[in-house]
Assembly symmetry: C2
Homo-oligomer: 236 residues x 2
């Protein structure tokens, strides 16, 4: 095969995405161009193009004359996440119910099968990735080029946040994951029926479940007062 370079580029892209989503590459990690180009048999030129692409999608941050860095996740961005996610998720699922095609629905069912398998016998990474894949397909279904950039950006950090609570294995957590799986099934049904109201409601439910999990694990009480902050800072 002579599309070596092209496939290696795709491999690199996929490798970086997965590594970032699963926190194997933690937020803030510096990426070494020389090392990566060596490891993937690519010269630095195409590698840097991949960097730019991933930066555009929100996986990486680029700083001039400094190494590329896995995008950070601060408490500020977490707050932004909580504000944006419910709205965008709702809109995406509503549109998915409107526009989904047969092959897309099949793809969604496949993704859900993989998710269930990961719940039974997979690692935390497997679960996060399978869940990410499921929601990624709903994004494709919506097909709205204006919403997708934000949706995909949200999915990145949702996977990363999720990794922190896919890890600890308490009984309640397993229960919640099984509930999430049930919601996925309901989402599929709503989309297949073209029932956008149901899809929107399920998006809210699914988000609330996820939100509860996140609050339990990564948020002590810092964001319990999210709305009453002073609106603007006056210097001097």
């Amino acid at each position: 095969m002579k599309d070596d370079a092209k496939s290696r580029k795709a491999e690199l892209t996929e490798h970086l995405k997965v590594s970032i989503l699963t926190l194997r590459l933690q937020p803030g990690t510096d990426l070494d161009e020389a090392h990566l180009s060596d490891a993937f048999g690519l010269s630095r030129t195409p590698l840097r193009e991949v960097f730019r692409q991933l930066a555009g999608e929100g996986y990486l941050d680029l700083r001039t004359n400094r190494s590329a860095r896995v995008s950070e996740m601060s408490y500020t961005t977490l707050r932004d996440f909580f504000l944006a996610a419910p709205m965008v998720y709702g809109a995406i699922l509503r549109l998915a119910a409107q526009n989904a095609t047969r092959p897309q629905i099949d793809a969604l069912k496949e993704a859900q099968q993989a998710f269930k398998a990961a719940l039974r016998s997979g690692s935390a990474e497997d679960r996060a990735l399978a869940n990410n894949r499921f929601h990624d397909v709903t994004g494709e279904m919506s097909g709205n080029v204006y919403l997708l950039p934000s949706f995909n950006r949200l999915l990145i950090d949702h996977a990363r946040i999720g990794m922190t609570f896919y890890r600890p294995q308490t009984a309640k957590m397993t229960e919640n994951l099984s509930e999430a799986s049930n919601q996925h099934d309901a989402i599929i049904a709503a989309i297949e029926a073209g029932d956008e109201a149901a899809a929107a409601q399920l998006a809210e439910d699914h988000w609330n479940l996820s939100r509860d999990q996140i609050e339990l694990f990564v948020m002590p009480d810092a964001l319990d007062v999210p709305m009453g902050v002073p609106p603007l800072s006056k210097p001097a």
Copy 2:
């Protein structure tokens, strides 16, 4: 000055953005790497990096082994635009009212001054760019990394759609533009007061005005039935 290359890169980026926003480069236009790298004194390597960046932001489409192309605007994307814009604009202005800083408010006032000046004595391009700049600042104010990608994507096509109705000079259109300017002033006031409810309401009003304009000029009646389409296509 020895940051020649860096500044030329920024110049090229800005040139392409402006050209695309003002429709001087029309949707679907092919970009010639050799010509552009020649014109801006850059080699193809940094030029292609700029292409990738702009593609990530939604200005360009990249196809492998084919020239970069100014992103298309079909009637499909127009429909998506109408679905996404009101929601995202509302959220952005609401957040802007919450989070705007003093310097940002000053920047917004400056942008509004420039917009007014463009209304008085500027070209259609000047108006579209000034309006784009105004809303761009509101995006900065919101500071939400998850909403900004979609918001900025919307602003691109909003400017391009706007160019089509900033051109014809009817009396009613001038009136509407002046109304838009008034709304800008009200938006500034709401943001400065930190009144997020007012900001959200103004976003809706401002959008409705813009929507009326757009419908008048570019939409005959194709999108008057936006919600009742068949939800999914079943082959065979």
